[in-house]
């Protein structure tokens, strides 16, 4: 645990393959980070960035491939082993004990010979490290007194204290204000100036350009390219990140979108996230009859909050939501439902459905209050079972029976049940979040077909997705969300992957509003 910055470390990962049931998260990734550089790992959500860093820090063991430090092959069975060899990680969600002081958190887990913790020596070293890298933190402050940015600095100090020569930061700016992010970049630069290595995981193009020396782009579990920052542009990076324009089938529509016949109108909406930070700022958007409007954007930029505001699950702090020209009361799920809003949340199994409940019980989650499902507050089991049998047949759900818990069904069948229930409510507007995430090809096709059918029958669909291929296949119009605001509004036939990718990465371009 001697702080020895003289021994510089180059980490090389070759042919890393990591499989999870049904998913290949890393599919032959090559990656190398040299001492003295900030190396960005860029990619969309699900591209395999986090898996790769978890392999590097010993949390996962690779199914194939090798990791070497200075050309010596190493195996890590735990993050502790990785840290002993100088690889430390700052996770997106901090691992700090709120009631402990900074110093106590930093030395936590250290093997001590004494019963009492001796913090005075540690505090001295922490202060020295903090001064060296310009990290302003009071070692005696308690974690709960610190801001998120300060807590992140504690995590960085913790890694440095334990001798990390390679520091991995997973989406470090996601929780920071722009000013805090700038301060972080200064710290990172001073660390690499000392000969340490920083691996910076991000999907934000501009900050990657601002802080990195080299960039490795991952897409769908594979390394796309490693490039010098100086020789590239955000535009090139966007293309690398989201993939070359490939030919994909646009689903055939039978009815024309009527964007002027507005069914959903959102005006000037602000809302906070679960922790009370502002997540949405002045959102305006409309969805017309038979129109599919897609919201592109990297997850965590306010999409979930927007869907919840429309669905009545979250209070807007300002602005209105109107369905068929009628304003619906703020934060009232039942009012939203009866106004004709159907909300398909991204967390299907625990929000959209009750995982432990049977297929038939899940199918009545929106209709159990009304006839024919219930009468005088009593559920009519026979009717419920018949309805379930009909829906299973109509939507081709593969299930052993109507009383099977939905958690036992495959992802595609789970989504079929959720969509079937929502279509059955005859909505005017559907807000659909990541409807095909995690599904296989056949199920994806089925879900998309159903969404287009809904639009053809007159429903206005607001499709929230990170999957550009899906957005291009379905949408009439594409909006892009970035940090809680809508940064682009482009007709689908005018949009290119590159322009959308840039907007998703927070790079404003000249755009054509329609």
């Amino acid at each position: 645990m001697v702080d020895d910055t003289d021994s510089k470390l180059t980490v090389t990962m070759k042919g890393i393959v990591k499989r999870f049931p049904g998913v290949v998260a890393n599919d032959g990734v090559d990656f190398e980070a040299r001492a003295g550089e900030v190396h960005a790992l860029l990619g969309e959500n699900g591209a395999g960035k986090s898996t790769l860093s978890n392999v590097l820090t010993g949390l996962y063991r690779p199914d194939e491939g090798t990791i070497s430090l200075n050309n010596e092959v190493v195996h890590f069975d735990s993050p502790r082993e990785a840290l002993e060899r100088g690889i430390g990680m700052v996770h997106q969600h901090f691992r700090l004990v709120n009631s402990f002081t900074v110093a106590e958190n930093i030395i936590l887990g250290e093997q001590s010979k004494n019963l009492m913790m001796d913090t005075s020596a540690a505090i001295e070293r922490i202060s020295a490290l903090a001064t060296q890298y310009g990290i302003a933190v009071d070692p005696n402050a308690r974690i709960w007194q610190l801001s998120v940015g300060e807590q992140q600095r504690v995590e960085i100090l913790k890694a440095l204290y334990h001798g990390a020569k390679i520091l991995i930061l997973d989406e470090p700016t996601a929780v920071l204000t722009p000013q805090e992010a700038d301060a972080l970049f200064v710290v990172l630069r001073s660390m690499v100036a000392e000969g340490r290595t920083v691996i910076f995981i991000s999907h934000k193009l501009d900050e990657v350009m601002a802080v990195a020396d080299r960039i490795t782009v991952l897409r769908a579990g594979k390394t796309v390219s490693t490039i010098e920052c100086a020789t590239t542009t955000t535009r090139d990076l966007a293309r690398l990140m989201v993939g070359r324009d490939v030919v994909f089938d646009r689903v055939v529509r039978t009815s024309q979108a009527e964007p002027d016949n507005v069914v959903l109108q959102i005006s000037n909406i602000d809302a906070n996230d679960d922790r009370g930070r502002q997540a949405l700022t002045s959102i305006f958007l409309t969805v017309g009859k038979s129109e599919i409007v897609a919201i592109a954007g990297v997850a965590g930029n306010g999409q979930r909050e927007l869907a919840e505001v429309i669905g009545g699950m979250r209070n807007a702090t300002r602005g209105t939501v109107a369905v068929n020209n009628e304003v619906i009361p703020n934060g009232r799920v039942r009012k939203s439902m009866s106004a004709g809003v159907s909300h398909v949340p991204e967390d299907r199994l625990h929000t959209g459905l009750v995982a432990d409940h049977s297929v038939e019980d899940n199918l009545i989650l929106k209709s159990y209050r009304r006839a024919p499902i219930s009468k005088y507050s009593v559920l009519r089991r026979g009717v419920i079972r018949d309805q379930a049998t009909d829906i299973i047949k109509k939507y081709d759900v593969k299930t052993p029976g109507t009383t099977t818990p939905v958690r036992l069904l495959s992802g595609g069948n789970v989504q079929k049940i959720l969509l079937a229930r929502e279509f059955n409510t005859s909505p005017s507007v559907m807000v659909v979040s990541s409807p095909t995430r995690g599904l296989d090809v056949g199920a994806i096709e089925n879900v998309r077909k159903r969404l287009v059918e809904a639009a053809d029958s007159g429903v206005g669909v607001l499709l929230i997705s990170e999957d550009l291929e899906e957005i291009f296949a379905l949408a009439d119009r594409i909006l892009v969300m970035y940090e809680g605001t809508i940064v682009g509004n482009i007709a689908a036939h005018d949009a290119t992957r590159e322009s959308i990718g840039l907007l998703m990465g927070g790079i404003a371009i000249h755009q054509e509003n329609n």
Binding site: R61, P62, D63, E64, G65, T66, V73, H75, G311, G312, M313, R332, V333, R334, M337, H343, P345, D347, H350, T351, G352, L353, V354, A355, D356, H357, D361, I364, L365, K366, Y368, R369, S374, S377, V378, L379, R381, P405, L408
Partner: protein, 367 residues
Amino acid sequence: MQSPLRLERRLTQPKWLNWGVPLLSLLGALILGAVVLMATGKNPISVYMRILERGFASTDAFSRTLISATPYAFTGLAASVAFRMGLINIGGEGQLYLGTIGAAFAGIAFADQPTPIIITAMIICGMLFGGFWAAIVGVLKAKFSTNEIITSLMLNYIAAILLDYLIFNSTSYWRDPKSFGFPTGKRLVEAAYWYDMSFGPIKVPFGFLVAMIAAGIVWFLYNRTRFGYEVSVIASSPSAARYAGIRTRWKIITVMSLSGALAGLGGASDVGDFRHVLDAKGVQIAGYGYTGIVVAALARLNPISAIFVAVFLGGLSNAGYALQGPDFPSGLVGTLQGLILFTAVAGEILTRYRIKRQTHVAEGVPS
């Protein structure tokens, strides 16, 4: 080193587990109890035979068992109702005390009325008082997210102090002004005694019938109504409940009140069926509320099973009273009850997990 055995989550729960696991748990408890008995130099077989004989085997014994079982049935139902929504109501004890206060009040106030009216008033007041006591917990949880385990437990102590105050430390409505020396409550008139029903040679307390009816109603409420559906959604997935527009806060208050009302009904039965007076000390010594938690756990929160479990535990404690003596340790019944709960909770794991031999050897390090 990893253990060669590991637990694997069951995908489905076979039906036989519903009765198989409790029976196996009971068997396990009897075996563990036998070890305890042998360690204290008793013959377990003869002890168990005597429990069976004094608790269940004769019509007289069974009639007495039903008397012991009645309060357990109510507090067991009360706990089940709350636990089904994931509300850990430990306050059945205090809610039952409030039920005795309410029922005694009605019994005294309506003394000149005909029996059916007095009984109805006692039932209603018992439920209202018990329900009110639990509603405090519900409102605190719904409005301020306080932990219901702690508030309901603390309210038990307050209820006990309230009981003592009404009888010993004040000249309250409930205290008999003619009681000298040791203060007692006002005795109810005979018209306020609850009916004794007989089915053949077996005497069934009126309260026990009420408990059976209540169990049927609770079963229907939880399995066949919108209310029960909403409760089960909240219990299984709070976020799905929010998504479906179910008013979780209201449900917390309603379910807590219902739970308290059932415990309060147990208190009413205690006054109407057995004590016929607000007996501040007697009801506290009995500890019906805490036993109700055991009943609910053994019944796996099923209201119908709760009645059977209550009878079983009633038989055990009845046998315990009957057999107490130099050759029969008074703590034995409590020990057995504890062992049964212990094995039942252990057995509960088997309904959700199965034991598998570890076949998976740690994977080799790739090279």
